[in-house]
């Protein structure tokens, strides 16, 4: 089966996403037998653990600091028939080869909700008030499966329309949305709601989600700084957060976490 992991890696003024991508690719190779990796970027990169590097023909995020306007292109640019789309600021902590056996039976599978450091499913966070206000599905683009299919093509065409016509969409389709530029999660959620308003195509797998290392997801009040309080650390090859061994995909918000983990290897 032609399958692999794909994500976008475009550096901005603060974050070296290519560097983070190398760590993600390393972690995928470390844990998985089915470990084909492809990054989509705007510069030539050579790295052994990148099996494919796809260059953007047109960069729709050229003017943006937070480069998300190209995300809809993933359907056209992925070299795989079966794709798991990720984000660069993630790390694998366990084998996920068995996922393909379930995922390949569907056209698209979205990750609904996220997990906290204690592996509890978190359905409500203050970061998702816009979703609740607009009754959007609580999906996360950071972990999405699709196969080359009409359904996936229609979905990403919708994403393209939404992203390239953002100001009109924001004003006409969304309530209380003041985002100057489209964010991928909102675009995904809106496209999904337009494509499948009755959730007839919805496939929810309880295991298909990631640990989101943000303070409100982890149940911390504002008195605590997430990474100081939970103190992510690495013991041998395992990542621990707040004393809990992580076994999901670890999605970090603080981009210096890999360096901090590296400094805390026991």
């Amino acid at each position: 089966m032609d399958r692999g992991y794909v994500w976008f890696a475009q550096n901005n003024s603060t974050t070296d996403y290519i560097k983070l991508s190398k760590l993600l690719a390393d972690s995928i190779k470390k844990y998985n037998k089915h470990n084909q990796v492809c990054i989509i970027t705007n510069e030539v990169v050579e790295y052994d653990n990148f099996d494919r590097v796809v260059l953007l023909k047109k960069d729709y995020s050229e003017e943006q600091e937070w480069k998300m306007n190209n995300e809809w292109q993933v359907f056209n640019l992925t070299p795989f028939k079966h794709t798991i789309k990720l984000e660069a600021d993630m790390l694998f902590t366990a084998n996920t080869d068995w996922w393909w056996n379930y995922l390949h039976q569907h056209n698209m599978v979205f990750s609904h909700h996220v997990r906290c450091y204690r592996d509890k499913t978190i359905t409500h966070t203050p970061y998702r008030r816009l979703f609740e206000r607009n009754n959007l599905p609580n999906v996360y683009n950071g972990l999405t499966y699709f196969r080359k299919s009409r359904q996936a093509q229609t979905f990403y065409n919708l994403c393209e329309d939404i992203m390239l016509n953002w100001s009109a969409v924001r004003n006409k389709f969304l309530v209380n949305c003041h985002d100057e530029q489209p964010t991928t999660d909102v675009v995904y959620a809106l496209a999904l709601k337009i494509q499948d308003p009755l959730n007839e195509l919805c496939v929810k797998y309880n295991w298909f989600n990631f640990m989101h290392n943000k303070s409100a997801v982890n149940g911390l009040t504002r008195a605590f700084i997430n990474d100081q309080y939970l103190y992510p650390m690495q013991i041998a090859e395992k990542i621990y957060v707040g004393g809990y061994r992580q076994s999901r995909i670890f999605h970090y918000y603080n981009k210096s976490i890999p360096e901090e983990l590296n400094a805390r290897i026991f």
Binding site: Y117, R118, G219, L220, Y240, G242, G243, Y244, R245
Partner: protein
């Protein structure tokens, strides 16, 4: 297979725990009808009135721990519980605080399960105010060592061995797990031990129902045959045929 209840009771200058234990034992004899072993020190032992057929184990308890109670810092002798595996003469043990009062035989349900070790991870505040469980008290969620049911087994022995280790190096573990409280609490030591022995991951060594509880702020007015009468602020209420953990240590003084 023998089954019995293990209690720890040490009087302190501030609290006459032996009076609580007398009430607790009476309830156990009435509802659980199990053999009882009481671990105490000689000073406390001398104060007990005759309690029927129960086993006593006299120890020299460790001292030095303190707790907060109704705005005061008071003495707390809670360091012997880590020895429960050695102190218990039973195959199946219900280890219980002497301020936990049974009014049913519900705990018997949990004796012959597939779990070698069970305790509560949730409490139910009977006042409805939810004033017992705080937020962000530690990175590992609290469990309640008030009622612990364990079977003599490799796992339970490992749990108690680890609790002893945690108790010895509690300062380190308190920092590691960001525990808010300065004093040693068995609740956190038990939580850490179970967390670590279950691979630093979620586990299921829990009694499925929450533990009914009345906080420090609640006064116990009376204990009847079927429950307790309690007062919180201007409200008075009763429990009926429900096991309850009572934090008010003074109601037994009359």
């Amino acid at each position: 297979m023998t089954t019995g209840v293990l209690l720890y009771c040490f009087d302190t200058p501030e609290v006459a725990y032996h009076k609580l234990a007398e009430r607790c034992i009476k309830q156990i004899q009435k509802h659980l009808k199990l053999e009882i072993t009481l671990v105490t020190n000689f000073e406390t032992f001398k104060k007990f009135k005759p309690l029927g057929v129960i086993n006593y184990k006299l120890v020299d308890n460790k001292i030095g721990n303190r707790r907060s109670y109704r705005g005061q810092s008071i003495t707390w002798h809670n360091l012997e519980r880590s020895m429960a595996y050695e102190h218990s003469p039973y195959d199946n043990t219900i280890l219980m605080d002497c301020d936990y009062f049974v009014f049913t035989n519900n705990l018997l349900t949990y004796i012959n399960t597939e779990y070698d070790f069970l305790l509560h991870n949730k409490v139910h505040d009977l006042t409805g105010e939810d004033m017992i469980e705080g937020r962000n008290e530690s990175t590992v969620p609290i469990v309640w060592a008030t009622v612990t049911i364990f079977r003599k087994s490799e796992f339970a022995e490992q749990v108690f061995d680890l609790i002893k280790h945690i108790q010895q190096y509690y300062r380190h573990y308190r920092n590691l797990y960001r525990i808010k409280y300065m004093n040693y609490r068995n609740d956190f030591a038990f939580a850490i031990a179970l967390h670590q022995l279950n691979g630093m991951n979620v586990h299921k060594n829990f009694i499925p129902t929450p533990m009914a509880m009345l906080a420090h702020e609640v006064d116990i007015l009376e204990m009847t045959d079927t429950g307790v009468v309690f007062k919180y602020g201007k409200k008075i209420n009763i429990t009926d045929k429900q096991d309850v953990h009572v934090m008010d240590k003074e109601f037994v003084n009359g």
